[in-house]
């Protein structure tokens, strides 16, 4: 299928509504990024999503869009609660994959000589990599509590503070979770994976704030130049994968029975009002909550590791959570469409929520400046902190990009990395990496990703979030 794209302005591109599309596609991008986007199948995927029942206004894509499965990665789509669908493929296997950023009172320059030591200690304390089993073993009964309570489960067990919850999207819990909607298999996979980082593009990174773009907002976010920060990127592990898998299979059969005509089987979906649609949202909430507990626990162990290695007290370290955002999720949210207030189910697959100043869902400390938007780079490249905007709320149901987005396939990346000592190359750039998987480093080489600064520039210029700070990696642990 050949998709026609019309340039609206420098930062916005339209896919006109044709064929079975129910709405047009709208891509946020830039002249620098567009050629790359056109080179894979992601635009076809934007058009495919536009064919789904009950989609509202546009099938949206962020500048980090790339070819996913079913939905494009970097895709956003909102559906009517009455006539619309919910799609497990529109959330992804890694339900509530997300990022949290921890600020510290440390000056990176002073800690630099200790980075290797810190990275090794973190690598030992936080189970990482394929098949990594956690330090926590849960009974099914306890796992169900995690699924219901999210981050607050971890806090209740002494792994965090009330303040951490306040600084987590939705306070680290999606309401309406029903542990009964989750399969035995998901519980089996999840019982020993809580508090594990996993593999692939997930990582934990020690960073330095390299540049501040907006002093006023940075002050509220407690960010300063030269500061040491820690970023954690992971999700719901096997628990979430299994929930997605179970419902894709069930909805696949449901789609065939109800006679939906889908352009791709991975787009399997069900009406939100249907029994299976409701059940999926309840199960998805369980997985989202598991992911929040996971990141909360990993942050707790990170704090412990810093205290031990640096022999400093929590008071001296001041390791405070700046914010935690999810970037693979479907959420029931209130929005204004055609000047009317409506409740929609917003799918963000590889996209981050971006709420403006004054939004009721924000914690009090951020109401004046907007939601912290965390954009992780990949190992070896920068990460960014941005702030949510009114424009995002108006144009993209309060959404913005989530990362750099791949540009090389894994096969190409391995080819490019052949014969190279990636660890060494990164160390020469001042980034110390410890990783478990043999091919991970090669598949995740910096060249495999788009230039994150172009992606961030595109959302900043389009007004979907505004730049606050940029961080540079110093040490990374990877699966």
């Amino acid at each position: 299928m050949d998709v026609k794209v019309k340039k609206i302005d420098e930062w916005r591109y339209l896919i006109p509504q044709t064929g079975a599309m129910k709405v047009p596609g709208l891509i946020f991008s830039s002249p620098d990024l567009m050629p790359n986007i056109k080179s894979d199948q992601s635009l076809v995927q934007v058009a495919n999503v536009a064919t789904l029942p009950g989609i509202v206004r546009h099938s949206l894509a962020m500048p980090d869009i790339h070819w996913g499965y079913g939905f494009p990665i970097g895709g956003v789509a909102a559906f009517s609660m009455e006539h619309g669908i919910v799609s497990p493929g529109g959330v992804g296997y890694d339900i509530n994959c997300g990022v949290r950023l921890v600020t510290t009172a440390l000056v990176a320059r002073e800690i630099r000589p200790r980075i290797k030591e810190l990275v090794s200690a973190l690598f030992n304390n936080i189970p990482t990599g394929v098949g990594s089993r956690g330090r926590i073993r849960l009974s099914v009964k306890e796992e169900k509590k995690v699924a219901l309570e999210g981050s607050s489960w971890a806090v209740r067990k002494g792994m965090g503070t009330e303040e951490d919850l306040e600084r987590t999207e939705d306070r680290g819990v999606i309401r309406g979770a029903d542990p009964g909607a989750v399969s035995e298999r998901a519980y089996k996979r999840g019982h020993d994976e809580l508090g594990t980082l996993g593999s692939g593009n997930h990582f934990l990174e020690i960073q330095m704030v390299e540049e501040i773009y907006d002093q006023e907002v940075a002050r509220v976010f407690n960010l300063f130049e030269g500061q040491l920060t820690v970023l954690i990127h992971t999700g719901s592990r096997g628990f979430g994968h299994q929930v997605c898998d179970d419902f894709l299979k069930e909805m696949g059969a449901h789609v065939r029975e109800s006679g939906f005509d889908l352009p791709d089987r991975q787009l399997a979906c069900a009406y939100i009002t249907s029994e299976i649609g409701k059940r999926y949202l309840s199960a998805m909430a369980c997985a989202a909550n598991y992911a929040w507990a996971n990141r909360q626990i990993i942050m707790h162990w990170t704090r412990e590791t810093f205290e031990k290695v640096l022999e400093m007290s929590p008071k001296e370290l001041k390791m405070e959570l700046l914010y935690d955002v999810c970037h693979n999720i479907a959420k029931v949210e209130d929005h204004v469409v055609d000047e009317k207030k409506v409740t929609l189910c917003v799918h963000r697959k590889g996209a981050t929520r971006s709420l403006p100043p004054g939004h009721p869902s924000l914690p009090e400390i951020y109401t004046k400046v907007g939601q912290p938007v965390l954009i992780p780079g990949d190992m070896g490249t920068h990460s960014y902190v941005l702030a949510g905007t009114h424009k995002a709320l108006e144009e993209t149901f309060g959404s913005t990009c989530h990362g750099a987005g791949r540009t090389l396939s894994r096969k190409q990346a391995i080819k490019v990395a052949r014969g190279r000592a990636i660890n060494r190359e990164l160390e020469d750039k001042g980034i110390y990496v410890q990783s478990r998987g043999k091919t991970t480093l090669k598949e995740e080489i910096p060249e495999a990703y788009k230039d994150i600064s172009l992606v961030v520039e595109a959302v900043h210029m389009a007004g979907l979030a505004k730049k606050v700070a940029r961080m540079r990696p110093l040490g990374v642990i990877k699966g």
Binding site: W67, Y93, R189, G200
Partner: protein, 142 residues
């Protein structure tokens, strides 16, 4: 593993990884697809001595059966730490597959895991006759 490096092609998918596998007949295709997936996950020798287990899968059609079959092999590793060393397919129709597997316990240090496969997707899934044999196309979530 008791076979030579399995014969499959990697699909150049930007974010993830896919395979194209060919088989002389359907049984051969399903066996090769599972070996190919194991090859993406584990490097080198899995071993031969293990426990035998029978496994039956149902699907709506051949592509669905393929996703469920590979998903099941993946689940054995994810949930039970078991690697598939040997496969025998005892019966196969469009909607049902029966197999006897030889499974080996995953041991860190002994087995070298190359990459995590999160799931077997339905994205652009196909199982079809081609050039007198069968061909499958499967994309994994990495």
């Amino acid at each position: 593993m008791d076979f030579e490096r399995p014969d499959y092609q990697i699909i150049d998918h930007t974010a993830d990884l896919g395979i194209i596998v060919k088989g002389a007949d359907l049984k051969d295709l399903f066996i090769r697809a599972a070996y190919a997936m194991m090859d993406l996950m584990v490097e080198g020798d899995i071993g031969e001595k293990g426990v035998r287990r029978e496994l039956a899968i149902q699907g709506d059609d051949l592509p669905d059966l393929m996703v469920r079959w590979l998903g099941e092999v993946l689940y054995l590793f994810e949930a039970e730490n078991l690697l598939v060393a040997k496969i025998e397919i005892t019966s196969l129709s469009e909607r049902r597959l029966e197999s006897a597997l030889t499974l080996v316990h995953f041991r860190r240090g002994h087995h070298q895991i190359t990459r995590e496969i999160k799931a077997v997707t339905y994205h652009q899934i196909s199982v079809e006759r081609k050039d007198g044999g069968w061909e499958a196309r499967v994309i994994f979530d990495i």
